[in-house]
Assembly symmetry: D2
Homo-oligomer: 357 residues x 4
């Protein structure tokens, strides 16, 4: 076989399934046959033309599959092995990577930093919504799937769990913390699970969809608030006796959620932001205590690499939570245009869709 199906960006509003030649495998690459992938909110931004990518680029960045072919420098794996790779595929060797921010990998030209530079699949190189994907810097990024885990169980690892957990990790949660998580889409749900994994003793989940709030309780939320029904800021201040929360995670990317997250923080608290914003943000003077509140605002891009994936799959294997439950629908790759339509319009209670080539 020399060609494959791939979902490519054609123009704003148009993602199409096309035939593409199988990629050539360079010395540091691995060719992976996709068995399951999924659609991310970022892909919808691409579909709508809000995040520009090259015409004809294959979209998608969440691969589960089987090693088809290994480059000459890629040791420690065998063909036929089940693997995943992170949505972010850093080289881990550049200055930026060695400096502790691999997601901002700028490669080996210049100084080694580039904003979001570690995100390559479906952004700067062909992605995973296809029969095959070429994994760059494969020795750093291919993570074998432990026996006994299904595709659906590990499908959240490349992006959703890694990002959501990063929100909890960057919030520097301590045992006994009170944490609020704004928005309970797939990433927010994983931030909720992450807050529980770090030891928060009271987790307040916020969303506007009751079904998502119901699921958030399974992921660790102790209290749920529907912003369509209550004033979330005053309600959280009431629950905490006026103290505020130790940490707030923003998982949507709007001024309103960012600002609410800031307004419910205790002095000394941390706002951990995961959302992708599309306009300038305003920091209200009062909520920022004029710059004297010992507050932190931290942002995180999805951590990648095989070690991160190994850890996340171990969390899945531990049964601490059922991350496979976030998969609400399954589509064939052939039907991906319909899957985009369902997902972009958030119909039918969709959280994540398993796409099967």
């Amino acid at each position: 076989m020399t060609t494959m199906k791939a979902a490519v960006f054609k123009a704003p509003g148009r993602i199409e399934l096309v035939d593409k030649p199988l990629p050539q495998v360079g010395p540091n690459d691995a060719l992976v046959r996709i068995t399951t992938t999924t659609i991310c909110g970022t892909d919808v931004h691409i579909l709508k033309g809000e995040y520009p990518v090259a015409t004809g680029l294959t979209i998608g960045h969440e691969p589960v599959g089987v090693i088809e072919q290994l480059g000459s420098n890629v040791q420690g794996y065998v063909e036929g092995q089940r693997v995943i790779a992170g949505a972010i595929c850093p080289s881990f060797t550049s200055y930026g990577c060695q400096d502790g921010v691999p997601s901002q990998d700028g490669g080996h030209v210049g100084h080694g930093y580039k904003p979001m530079g570690g995100w390559r699949f479906g952004n700067t190189i062909d992605g995973t919504q296809a029969d095959y994907v070429l994994v760059p810097d494969a020795i750093a990024n291919l993570a074998p799937v432990p026996d006994g885990l299904t595709d659906e169980q590990v499908l959240m690892c490349p992006d959703i769990m890694s990002t959501g957990f990063a929100g909890a990790e960057a919030a520097n949660i301590r045992i006994g913390d009170i944490v609020a998580v704004f928005a309970q889409g797939p990433i927010g749900l994983c931030a909720t699970a992450g807050a529980k994994l770090r030891g928060a003793s009271l987790i307040i989940a916020v969303d506007g969809v009751d079904e998502r709030l119901r699921i958030s309780r399974n992921m660790g939320a102790d209290v749920t608030l529907n912003f369509r029904e209550v004033d979330v800021v005053s309600e959280i201040l009431r629950i905490t006796g006026g103290r505020g929360v130790d940490a707030a995670v923003e998982a949507l990317g709007l001024q309103s959620t960012f600002e609410s997250a800031l307004r419910v923080l205790k002095p000394g608290g941390t706002l951990s932001s995961l959302g992708v914003y599309s306009s300038d943000l305003t920091i209200p003077l009062g909520a920022f205590h004029a710059g004297l509140g010992d507050n932190k605002i931290v942002t995180s891009l999805c951590p990648g690499g095989k070690e991160r994936m190994r850890r996340l799959m171990n969390v899945v294997a531990s049964g601490r939570d059922d991350f496979g439950a976030l998969v609400t629908h399954t589509y064939k790759l052939d039907d991906i245009v319909a899957a985009y339509d369902l997902f972009a319009n958030q119909r039918d209670g969709v959280l994540k869709i398993a796409i099967k080539p």
Copy 2:
């Protein structure tokens, strides 16, 4: 003697020297006879009515003096001892204090957090621009001055060094970092010194006054930039070869310095903010990498307490830098209205004024 001189806030634009009764010493207090104090930029905000305090309140929060009388619970000191106290005087016993943010001490009513609650001198209780000051929670806040150090040498410890160093500490500087410090007033100069103390190998100091830039070189700056002469953002990006700085310290409190600090950060870098802002802030989408740059924005309020003061005085004693050199003028307490006039108008190259009762 039962009365003393004190500089009090009368009305916007009016600070006056008046007679006040000597304060009564409660069980946890210490009465300190001031030998030297100084005027802070915050005091000028109070003078102008931009930061509201009660009419008749004694202003000032930077005490150097001698213990006159100790409360019944205050052990470990003797009357006649030379001491300083931090501008911020936390109890260290409240929930907020025990939780790691003593500057946000909310006391023992409610949950123990209050924005800037540790700042009491010249804010919520009578301050230090007087013959005497009552130090609350004295056992936690009185710091004996090591032999051999002059008043001028330790006068920067209560606020200027503590705040400036906190800016460097919160920036999480590592050996070999490149750091930019925006504004080289007294606090910015100490942030520059702090960046050097934490191991930065290239410190870029920014200001609009050449004399301050000259002094910044003595405090550790390797490169100085006058924003009246160069485009600071593009110049810093040029100096760093497009990489940006590991950390930027904001030491003024304006949108322009905040925004420039953000624009020169590498992906993954930290903006450490010290300034007191007077309006909402805008985070530009691009400089924030849409929330995906692994950046941090951290704010710090001056750390207080006798242990902090002990450490800072040890730094002074080590001779690592000459912090006494920041004192450019000396006035009698009787002439404090003239001292405010000089300081508020930044005439005559003034940095800090020693006020002597």
Copy 3:
């Protein structure tokens, strides 16, 4: 009433219940009427004369009770309030406390550090195995019990949970870590629960008593090893594929457990030690990689203070684990000599005994 019952140390091997006068309440103290207390392994060391205390000292350091009388400086509480206090009661105001190690509080004479100086109950002042206890520095140490929690549920907070969790916290556990906990007495069981609360995905619990291993599974252990049945070091290396664990918690205080914990660490791993040792320790050259393994050995003394207690009671209230289940027996204070006999000889599957005045 002017006298009370108290269990005091008489001589090695003899703890007796005697009558003592009710203590006088100083300005910073609170008198607490004990409703429930318990016996700790440390108390058994005292009983046996292995840890010297003054003859006639009241033993015990785990108080649950009701405020009977407040000192004149103790604000924010009311008499009749249900409270606990930590086993360690720091002042939080000394140099050592402000420097981040309140358990090593040396008070206000000298430099403010003293090894284990924060431990006062039943060590340097009268303890909690009595009708009443005087809590020093009460404003920093009295923690109100949330409504709805029983004495038994919060009885683990003052020492057992605080110490056990500290073992997990000091181990710097990250999401996805593999952690081994050596010994599953009450503190080891809480270290196991703490490892889960911090996000470990594989927790290996080690003990020689099957019943304790069974309970450890309820607290979060994924794998249990009985050292009477297997070679623990080789078994852990086998389970981890030769890699070793990210962190090992020592919760007993013997050379053998210390050494095994070191031998199962990955290069770069952390040994978090909680045990009270009674002889010099040996670090084997090989297990220490000749000092080049990037390893850490950290020790922790039980953190105290009202903020710590507040957080731990919130964990109890969250229902994350059933810490009340560690109470296996209940005795009247009048029968405390029999309780010591049961506990010291570890009969009848005893874990913790609720002692009721």
Copy 4:
């Protein structure tokens, strides 16, 4: 030219200069022509047969040179460029590297951890005391030398500065700390400089050679103690008023220095160990406060990689200290046997010897 000179281990007590073929350059390698290298204390252990390496292996791990030839995968460099590489050359891509301990790199077989596995030059592959050296994983390890720095100035970066600074970094030094550094050989001198770079305000340097103590003052020591003249432990406790030091760095590898470092620590203090030990260590019960002192013992292996080297060379370039001054002697590679004789016997005040092919 197809052959080169190389200093190889022949047998215990015998290092000889021999002819070897030039190495073949693999796709991830770079061939570097050595312009300056040096001898390390570890090399003397190898010479004496105390640390076993293969017969015929080229010794040495501190390269300064010029790129002669680049492997096919090595981008971002040009032949003829002046470079250094760290003594430790991790791949940065293995599990162990991505997990934050690159010096313990176990490669891509098994789990990716191996004690000291990142140390390859002169240990598991041919080293730098030769005309040429093959740098593995070159893209991660080649660090260009900034213009204007001499070979001697950057010769300390690959090992001495990186290790010494790591001792200060791992000690978690804060502004105002008191730090003791035991042994003032080249690494101890750099630990002293590192302690100053991290903000220590009182650095106590210990050694038995007055000349080294004199040099330590240039590197930042405030107080020097000759252990042949004073009881170091009691003297440090006297200097600190009985409090002890915040951190102690061990830079020799003996029980006596390890134990003294522990004995001078404050409760809560950190012992940062750099030495290579050759026998089991004993932790005295009292100095360890029976395991209850909130102490830390941390070990560090020299950090490597191009980012670390870049930072260290920037420190050199900043002129903060004169690290070139540690080079006390210069020898031709042809005379390396004589150089070993001088260095191993510590004659003539030798600190470091520049070896020139």
